[in-house]
Symmetry: C2
Subunit: 679 residues, 2 copies
Amino acid sequence: MIDDALVIFTPSGKRGRFALGTPVLTAARALGVDLDSVCGGRGICSKCQISPGYGEFAKHGVTVAADALSPWNSVEERYKSIRGMIDGRRLGCQAQVMGDVVIDVPPESQVHKQVIRKSATMRDMVMDPATRLLYLEVDEPDMEEPSGDFERLCKALADQWQVSDIAADLPILRRLQPALRKGGWKVTVALHKGNHDARHRVLDIWPGYHEGGLYGLAVDLGSTTIAAHLCDLADGTVLASAGVMNPQIRFGEDLMSRVSYAMMNPGGDVEMTRAVRAAINDLAVSIASEAGVAATAIYEIVFVCNPVMHHLLLGIDPVELGQAPFALATSGSISLDASDLDLAAVNLAARVYVLPCIAGHVGADCAAVALAEEPDKSKDMVLIVDVGTNAELLLGNESRVLACSSPTGPAFEGAQISSGQRAAPGAIERVEIDPATKEPRFKVIGSDLWSTDPGFAEATAASGITGICGSGIIEAVAEMRMAGLVDARGLIGSAEQTGSARMQAEGRTHAYLLHDGSAENGPRILVTQGDIRAIQLAKSALYAGARLLMDEMGIDQVDRVVLAGAFGAHISPKHAMVLGMIPDAPLSHVFSAGNAAGTGARIALCSRAARDAIEATVTRIHKVETAIEPRFQEHFVAANAIPHATAPFPELAKIVTLPEPSFNTHGSGDDGGRKRRRG
Amino acid sequence: MIDDALVIFTPSGKRGRFALGTPVLTAARALGVDLDSVCGGRGICSKCQISPGYGEFAKHGVTVAADALSPWNSVEERYKSIRGMIDGRRLGCQAQVMGDVVIDVPPESQVHKQVIRKSATMRDMVMDPATRLLYLEVDEPDMEEPSGDFERLCKALADQWQVSDIAADLPILRRLQPALRKGGWKVTVALHKGNHDARHRVLDIWPGYHEGGLYGLAVDLGSTTIAAHLCDLADGTVLASAGVMNPQIRFGEDLMSRVSYAMMNPGGDVEMTRAVRAAINDLAVSIASEAGVAATAIYEIVFVCNPVMHHLLLGIDPVELGQAPFALATSGSISLDASDLDLAAVNLAARVYVLPCIAGHVGADCAAVALAEEPDKSKDMVLIVDVGTNAELLLGNESRVLACSSPTGPAFEGAQISSGQRAAPGAIERVEIDPATKEPRFKVIGSDLWSTDPGFAEATAASGITGICGSGIIEAVAEMRMAGLVDARGLIGSAEQTGSARMQAEGRTHAYLLHDGSAENGPRILVTQGDIRAIQLAKSALYAGARLLMDEMGIDQVDRVVLAGAFGAHISPKHAMVLGMIPDAPLSHVFSAGNAAGTGARIALCSRAARDAIEATVTRIHKVETAIEPRFQEHFVAANAIPHATAPFPELAKIVTLPEPSFNTHGSGDDGGRKRRRG
C-alpha cells in the first residue's frame, strides 16, 4: 500500500512526497512554498486558499485523481457559507493530501505576493512587510508553574510561529491581560520586525481572531509639497494619496533660506520641526479619513526627503548642511517610533523608517528614486531627473551610478511664477500656441477639454481658471519659444516684434496674455518676463547638474532619460527638451515616471528586503557635489539659453525647428545668467 | 640583543612577553588584564595608573631593574603636576616596557573593581556597569567620501574601543554636531548596553574629555516606603540614601486594598501609577540634591518591588494579581527608558532595569533579596525573611530554594499602631521593661542614651519623643511579654493583674504607658491592645509563611535566619524570636542583614553580570503560593500566640524564660485568630 503521495506546487514548481493525510498547508511549509496563513492553520483566516488541479499534467508527469485531496470538511463548508469562496478553491489548512496532486497557490494567497505595477518603466514589487498579523492560542496561567502572560504569549509565538525574541512596550503590556481574557486565551497580534531590529515587537493586540486593518504611510517630504500614499500593508494596495504644502514655506521657500532661518533665529529649527511634524500628523488624519480608515490603524510610516528636510523632520539643526563640507548628522537609515516625531494621530506604537541619505546634498529622496528606478540594474545609460524644489539626479547603469542634487528652486512647482499655483482643479496644466496666429489653447485640471473646445466654459465653471501649475508653465514657456514669442535668451518680444496683440507691455518688459480672465472664471493669467527668468534659473540648474554627472561619467549623450518628481508624470518630454531642462535625447527615450521618490517610499514601506537593498545600494552610489564644483556654475550659465547656448540638440532638431528671433533691444546682456544661491 | 621582555601583572598573575617599548596599557589589554582607561591611552584620563615593582620577585622568578620601564615622560609629569599622583604610580598608557617587570594594578585602576561590603553576611560585588564613559577622536567629514557625523562616531568607537552596533536617540543626534565641533572632533560619550540589548546606545555626549558624573539610582519600591540609593556608576559608591512614604498609601494601606481600589474605581490604577511615579521623580531630585549632583546625571535606575507595585509602576492594572491564579502581566526582567515611566527629573536618556518577578505574589524585591543574600549558594539551610508590608521569604541552600510572600500588613513599619510612626528622629526604636518593677526605658532615634540616662531630656529636646517605629514596637511587645504584662494569647493585663500602675484601662482592654508625654517632649505613648493585635497578625503571617516553606522543604528547623527589610538591620533577633516572628533557632545564627532588597537593587545597578545571574536564578527558585494553601491558614492561627501556640521554641527557652500569666477574664476566645485578608 502506498502511504505517501507527490505534491507539486505551482507556480513555484516545488515538489515533495508527503504522508497521506498531510494538510496542504503543512506540505507547503515543509517545502518552503509561500502560502499565507494568519491563524496558523486553524481554518479561521482563509488566507491559505489554494487551487488544486485535476486530470493529467504531462509537464509534471502526474495525473491527479478527483479524490487526490480529502473531501470538503465542515470548517471549509462553514467558511464558504459565511464568507464565500471562489469555486475550485480549498483551504490549505483543511484539505489533506490523499494522492498525487498539483496545487496552485493563487497570488492573493502568497505572503510575498508580487504587486504588479502599471508603468512599464517601473519594476514590480514583492510584498515583504515589516508588520504582520499573527493569530495565537496562549496557554492559561498555572499557579504551580507561575509565569507572566507575556512570557506565555512569547512561548505561543515560538511554538506556533517559530518567532522568538519578542518585545512589547508598556501600553501593550497594559492591554495584554484584558485581551487574553476577553479572547479566551486566543489573540491576534500585529508583530513588527524592522530590517535592523534585533527583536520583534508587538505593536497591537486584539482578543480572538482579527483581520486586516494594518496600514502604512509612504511620505515624500519635499521642500514645497508633502505627498503621501496610504497603503494596505497586507497587499500594498494604495487606498488614498494626498498632498499638502510644506508649512515650512513660511520660513523660506527653498532649502537654503530655511537653513538661514535656523542660523539667524535661535530656536528657528525647532519651530520648523514643529511645523512640519504637525503638517504630517494632519496629513495622516486627512488621508486616513479619505480612505475611510482610522489614522490609528497606521502602524508604519516611511519617509523620503532631502537632507535638510531629513534633519528638520528629525529635529536636528540643519546648519551644517548650509556650509562645506555639508556634513550630515547621520546618513544611515533610521528606525524610530512615530511618537519620537510627535506623530500622535497614528497608532501609538507606529514605527517609522527613514531611508538613508547619500550625502549632504543628496538625500533619502534620491535613495528612494534609486530604489524605484534602479539605475544600478540598468543595461543602458539612464539619467533620472527627480524634479522638485531641490532636484535629485542619478546617472548610471549596472556598472556605476552617480548622483547629485541641484537647487532648481520652487518654480517647477508653480511657486515664484506670477500666476503660479499648485496642481489643483482650475490650474492650467497643458498649453499650445499656434505658431502662425500666436493664439493659445490650454487645458485645466479637472477637464479634458481644450479651452477652444465647445463646452469648455461649462466644464470649468465650477473650478474656474485659477492659475498655472508646474507642467503648465513648462509647456507655456516652451510653446512661446516654439511660436517665436520668446527668443533663445529668454526675452519676451513686444506686440510689434511678434505681431501679436497678446504681448502686453509691463514696464520695460513684456508678458504674454494666456487667458483673459473675467468676473466669472477667474483672474487674467499672463506669462511674464519674470516667469521666464524663474523657469530659466530652474531649468539651468537641472541641466547643469545633469551635465556635471555626464562629465564625471565621461559621456556626451545618455541613452535614456526618466523624468520623475511629484509632477514628473505630467511633464511633456518634448516641452522639457525644448526648454533644455534635460540633455538632448531621442524623444522616444524620454519617459515620465511620476513620483519616483514616493514610489520608492512605498516600496520600502512594503518590503524589508527593499530596505536592505537600498541601504546596500546607496553605499555604492558615488556622489558628485555641485555646490563647490566650478564647472557647475559654467554649465549653469551656458544652460540659461533656451534650449542651450552652446550644446547642440540634434535629436530635438529632428522634431522641432525653433525660430531664432532676438528681442534684445538694449544691446547688452540680461540678468538671466546671474549667479544664484543654492536653494 | 634581547628585544622583548617579560611582563607580569598582579594581582591577576597574567604574564606575557612584549617587544621593548610596548606601553603597559597595551600589554595589559593584550593579556586581558583588567586595567581601566577612558581616554583610550592618550594620557588624559589617568584611569590606567599602575604600580611597578622593583627588585627581586622570587615567587615570579624575575628581578626587576630600576630601568624596567621607560623614564617619566612629559605627559606623566604634566598630569602629576596638575592633578597629583601617588608616589610610585605610573600612567599605564605612557610607561613603556624596557625590561622584565612586575606590575601591580591597584583596585581603583580596575574596571571590574571589587566593592568590599561591610556586612559579613553579604557578598562582595564586582563592578560591571551597563553605562561607561569613552573618549573618542572622530574623523572630520570629507566631501569626497561623504558620511554622517554619527557614522564616523561609530567608526571611532569600533576602531578605538572595539565596540560595534551603536544606536543614538534623536536628542543625542541633535547634540552630536555641535559637540563634535566644539570638542575639535574629540568627544566623550556615555555608552550604555543593558544585559538584553542588542545594540549599544549613546546616552550622552560631551565635547572633549569628560570625567565622572555617571550616577545610578537603586530603588526599593515598597508598599509603604520607597527607599533609594544614589550610586556612582564608576565605583559603586553610595553617595546618598533616602526614603519617602509611598503616596499610594492614600489609596490603601496594603497591596490588596490597592488592587481593590483599582477594581472599584475606573482609572484608579492610572491614578496610583501617576502618584508613585511622581514620588519617585521627586525622590530622585531630593536624593541628587542631597548628594550635591544634578538629577540629570542619573543615567540608570534599577527597581525592585513586589508584583503589585511592579504593575502599578509600569502602568499595568494589577487586577489579575488580586485573584487566583495571580497571573503577572509579565514576569521577566524589563528594560525601558526612564521617560516611559514619566521620570522627567533624571537624564533624558536614562535607562531603567526592573528585576524579574518570581511569581504573582513573589516579586522583583524577592529576586533582589536572593541576589543580595544568595541562598542558592548557601551550604547551610537558610531562611531569609524580608520584613515589609508584604514580606518575602526565601528558604533553601545550594541544592534547592523555595520562596513565598506573606501579607504581614504595615504594622512592622509603624503603621496601624496607635503611636506608630516611621523611623525618624524622635521615634522610639529600643525598649526594655524591668520584669520586677515593670518600668520601661527606651531609646529614640537621634540619641544613644537610654531614657533613664542623665542628659536624655536635653539630648532629645530637639526631636521630641514622637512615637514608636517598627523595631520599637517589636521590642515593646516582646518586652511586655517577657515582663509578664502580656500573656501568650496577646492579652494585656490590668493594673491589678500585673501590679503596675502603668497599665491603663481603655474600655474593656488595657494599654501600657510607655512614655508619659508632656507639652515639652511630645504625646503620651501607649502600647494598646489594638497594637498587640496588629503585631500578632503581622508576625503570624510571617511565621506561617516560613513554616509553609519548611513543610515544603520537609524540615523542622533551619540552620540560619536572616532578617532583612528596610528596617531589618534594626530588628533585635532576640525580641523577634520572643514574638515568634521567626522559627526557633540558635540566637547566634540569627542575623540582621539590613535592606537586602535595596542591596540587591544596588548590585544589579552596578553589574550586568549580576542581572544575568539573578535572571537565571529566579527560574530555579520554586514558588510556594500562600494565598490558596489551607495549611497557611492553619499555621497562621497557631502562630497567633506569643511566641506560638504549639511549636516548642527550645533555643529560645535556653536564653529566656517566659512567664505564663493568663489575662483572659471572659472565658472565651478573642479575636486574635480571626482570618484576615491578604495585604
